[in-house]
């Protein structure tokens, strides 16, 4: 129970982070899902509603680990939960999960993958689904698809899935490397042979595509394909003969004879009976008819491919031009937006500055007027005050000299007269010292 609770909490956390998960959280999620599905005491139904929140990689890791040991019921429970591919995310999730089980449970993988492929055989795989397939199935991890051919799988679904996978792998747009291509084609040929689907109409198209693809391979790889298929399937030669490039040696085990050479020994000279001749003729006619039909089919396929290629290039060119124009326009719009923003900012700053300057100017004028009045008052007060203080100071100095001056009506002795006389001279000296020039008589030195 603790695992279920913990998983639910984790789901809430991931949901709060809008689906973002770090490596540790992915690991933890995978561990918990594996535990819930594999422990008999726990009911996986309780966590199904939370699974949609988690990243597909975490889910795939858990499914990949748990699937081999799961009971039929639990596998079905999971398959029933798996949401329909209504969104790209859901489609990607199905692809990733299919990739996780494709090597252990081909039937399940086939069932899930078939949900991604249109029912109509003529309908094409969408660009998005193709991209998902290219990334998930033919990326860094090498996968084998042989289990898709398990007996329980529906042949119609099987062929559609194989055709879709092949369509992706051979499309140069996805630039899938040669070895993944090789592995898929090896598995497809094996499956078609083992499930006896060679005569199926859709299988024919698949084989035609394979033939075109194989022609682009190096001879060594072709040789390896032949060797491998010979080991896997008994009638490999019959399947391969028509599809391998001629003039190249096809290595074979000692004692085996290539299919192309087997017709010549059975020439007319060696056939004695008419019935036998008729059968041979009939077989050859059938063979010629089949070849003609295949040739026509290939011709139309080649035309189709050429036309598709031309349209694709045209569309790509158009798209590229549009992207360039869009990018150029975006740059221009961005520049203009920045210029506009800059101009608005400058305008605002200028308006603010003007207001500030106006306020400062007004304030300065007022301050200047106040200051002018203050200074005028101060200068005037200072000037008149200084004059008054000078007079008062002079009066103070003089009054100090004559503070003992006898009263006007007092009788003066010679001594007192002498002192008064000297004080009078001191008086004159002080006046002189204070800058008040008084003209004295000749004897007054």
């Amino acid at each position: 129970m603790a695992e279920i609770e913990e998983l639910k909490k984790l789901a809430q956390l991931v949901q709060s982070k809008k689906g973002r998960m770090d490596a540790r959280e992915r690991e933890q999620t995978s561990h918990l899902i594996t535990a819930v599905f594999t422990r008999e005491t726990l009911d996986p139904a309780e966590i199904l509603s939370s699974l949609e929140v988690f990243q597909s990689e975490a889910l795939a890791q858990a499914v990949g680990q748990a699937w081999p040991s799961l009971s039929r019921e639990r596998r079905d429970l999971f398959s029933q939960w798996l949401p329909e591919p209504k969104t790209e995310k859901a489609a990607r999730r199905i692809a990733i999960l299919a990739a996780a089980v494709v090597e252990v449970d081909g039937v399940a993988a086939l069932g899930w993958l078939s949900r991604l492929i249109p029912q109509n055989p003529k309908a094409k795989l969408t660009r998005e689904t193709s991209q998902i397939f290219a990334t998930v199935f033919f990326g860094s991890k090498p996968l084998r698809f042989i289990r898709l051919g398990d007996e329980a799988g529906h042949p119609g679904k099987l062929v559609r899935v194989l055709r879709a996978l092949l369509q992706v792998v051979v499309d140069d747009h996805y630039a899938i490397e040669t070895m993944p291509r090789y592995r898929l084609i090896e598995d497809i040929l094996t499956i078609i042979s083992q499930r006896d689907l060679v005569g199926n109409d859709e299988s024919k198209t698949i084989l035609a595509r394979i033939e075109i693809e194989i022609k682009r391979w190096p001879q060594a790889l072709i040789d390896q394909l032949v060797e491998t298929l010979k080991r896997r399937i008994p009638d490999a030669e019959l399947l391969l003969d028509k599809r391998l490039p001629k003039g190249k040696s096809v290595p074979s085990t000692p004692g085996q004879i290539a299919y192309g050479q087997s017709a010549e020994p059975r020439s007319e000279a060696q056939i004695s009976t008419v019935g036998a001749k008729t059968r041979i003729k009939s077989t050859l006619e059938q063979h010629i008819a089949s070849l003609t039909s295949q040739l026509e089919e290939l011709g139309s396929l080649a035309n189709l491919l050429t036309e598709e290629e031309r349209l694709k290039k045209e569309l790509e060119r158009g798209l590229q031009e549009t992207q360039l124009r869009e990018s150029s326009l975006q740059v221009r719009v961005k520049q203009m937006s920045e210029e506009l923003e800059d101009a608005v900012t400058k305008l605002k700053a200028a308006s603010t500055r003007i207001e500030e300057l106006e306020r400062a100017s007004k304030s300065t004028k007022e301050s200047m007027e106040i200051e002018r009045q203050r200074l005028t008052q101060q200068i005037s007060a200072n000037a008149s005050g200084r004059v008054e203080e000078f007079k008062n100071n002079l009066a103070l100095v003089l009054s100090r000299l004559i503070r003992d001056l006898p009263a006007r009506d007092s009788h003066l002795t010679a001594d007192v007269g002498n002192i008064v006389f000297l004080q009078f001279h001191q008086f004159l000296d002080v006046m002189d010292g204070q800058g008040v020039k008084i003209k004295k008589g000749k004897g007054a030195v």
Partner: protein, 476 residues
């Protein structure tokens, strides 16, 4: 910006109005000199009179018996002393307010606005109660005290442009009543007072000694033996005034005459040569210079370390002082004098009011905890904060009293020298971990106030202490 500074001096007071880029305006008496700080209170009418007239006739005022003559109210501020008249009782605050009003009125007389705010200079170590009383007196005179600044710092700020790149400056402030010498350290934008000395031998003492010497000469001439103090008060006042005038004249003249038509009933005619006068006052000057050297030594500085000696105050114009300092190799190169030396402190105070500067603590203040560790309350370099801060303490034993120990740690106390500055007890309920709330502030008067109480007992057991001897630096 307009700012005012007031030098509330022992003998003279002055005010200065400072406006940037304009010649400062000075307010003293009506002759443009500093206002004598003397106040005479009519015992009958209860009216006060202050200024030069009272100063020049002080003995006459005293001996008339009709007046209380308060020669320097500055040092009575913050005390309980009162002066009773028939109509009212005068406190020291009332008398100080009269002097400050007179300065403010002088501004109005000159057609300017009265003084409504000012920075006031005070001596170093001026008691907290006196500062509070001075603030109150200013308020009575309609003046809001924006800041107190020490007289030496104010003088330094006045001459700051000439003191760039100086590290140590001495301020030699020789006024009428006292000689105050401070050594200040300039540390970047901060000014610290590192040593202060003072003596009360100043201009008034010189005038008095000069008058007594002339009296003695005259008595010798008359072949009489009457003590100066026994002469009529009017004659003593007259002779003192004549001597003060002669003292000023001898700064620029070789000789002068002291003349009185009546001194003890006879005329007085004494010629005074500068040499004789200077021999008379050389004792005073030597004492002053000696105090200067002792102050510098007290600051633990060499004489070379003093970059400038600012010589200010009314008595700093004495010619003998200048020649003595200039002849002394220890001081000769550092002397900075000014003709306007009497106004320097008030001008500096005005500049303080107009600046963004202020006092900052020069030491760390903290509390000693029970484990003898020092818990810092105020960091060095903090500005005054009148809004109290608080801290919660707990009793560590079941005691009925919490002992609060406040200490300070100097700036240079990297070794952690902590000195206790006050200690007091606060009553508690007496349980272990009982909470004691301690709040503290440093007000604009630079007084540290600590208040502690037990939360359990509440405000009825509140303990309050003040400390006024913190060291501050002035941030320019």
């Amino acid at each position: 910006m307009v700012s005012f500074g007031i030098d509330f001096g022992t003998t003279n007071s002055s005010a200065v109005k400072h406006v940037e880029s304009v010649e400062p305006l000075r307010f003293g008496d009506d002759a443009g000199r500093p206002l004598p700080s003397i106040v005479a209170i009519d015992k009958g009418l209860g009216e006060a009179e202050c200024g030069r007239h009272v100063w020049e006739n002080r003995d006459e005022y005293v001996e008339s018996g009709n007046y209380h003559v308060v020669r320097s109210v500055k040092w009575n501020l913050g005390t309980e002393k009162v002066w009773e008249t028939e109509s009212r009782i005068w406190t020291a605050e009332d008398i100080a307010a009269e002097i400050l009003k007179k300065l403010s009125t002088r501004a109005e007389t000159l057609g300017l606005e009265p003084i409504t705010h000012a920075a006031i200079s005070i001596p170093v170590g001026y008691p907290p109660a006196a500062r509070a009383a001075l603030r109150s007196a200013a308020s009575k005179a309609g003046i809001e005290v924006s800041a107190f600044v020490t007289e030496s710092t104010a003088a330094l700020i006045r001459y700051l442009p000439a003191l760039r790149h100086c590290h140590h400056v001495a301020v030699f402030d020789w006024g009428g009543g006292t000689l105050d010498i401070s050594v200040l350290r300039m540390d970047g934008q901060r000014v610290y007072e590192i040593a202060t000395e003072g003596m009360d031998i100043a201009g008034d003492a010189i005038d008095n000694d000069f008058a007594k010497a002339i009296h003695a000469r005259n008595m010798e001439l008359r072949k009489q033996n009457i003590a100066f103090e026994s002469m009529p008060s009017i004659d003593r006042d007259n002779l003192r005034i004549k001597c003060e005038t002669a003292k000023c004249q001898l700064s620029s003249q070789e000789s002068t005459q002291i003349l009185l038509t009546s001194y003890g009933g006879q005329t007085l005619n004494e010629r005074v040569d500068r040499a004789w006068f200077e021999s008379l006052i050389s004792v005073h000057v030597d004492l002053a210079v000696d105090l200067l050297s002792r102050t510098i030594e007290g600051a633990k500085l060499s004489f070379d370390a003093i970059n400038r000696i600012i010589v200010i105050g009314g008595s700093s114009n004495l010619r003998l002082l200048h020649s003595t300092l200039s002849a002394d190799k220890r001081f000769a190169g550092a002397i900075l004098t000014s003709e306007e030396a009497e106004w320097a402190v008030a001008e500096g105070a005005a500049m303080v009011e107009g600046s963004k500067g202020g006092y900052e603590t020069a030491e760390s203040i903290g509390i000693i905890l029970s484990d003898n560790s020092f818990y810092e309350l105020v960091q060095p370099g903090e500005r005054v904060f009148a809004n109290p801060r608080s801290v919660s303490l707990s009793l560590v034993e079941d005691s009925k009293q919490a002992n609060i120990i406040i200490a300070k740690r100097g700036l240079d106390a990297q070794n952690g020298t902590v000195a206790r500055i006050m200690e007091f007890g606060v009553d508690t309920l007496g349980f272990d971990l009982e909470q004691i709330d301690l709040s503290y502030s440093i007000n604009d008067d630079l007084i540290l106030r600590i208040e502690a109480l037990s939360r359990a007992l509440g405000s009825r057991a509140r303990g309050i202490r003040e400390y006024d001897k913190l060291r501050f630096g002035y941030h320019l």
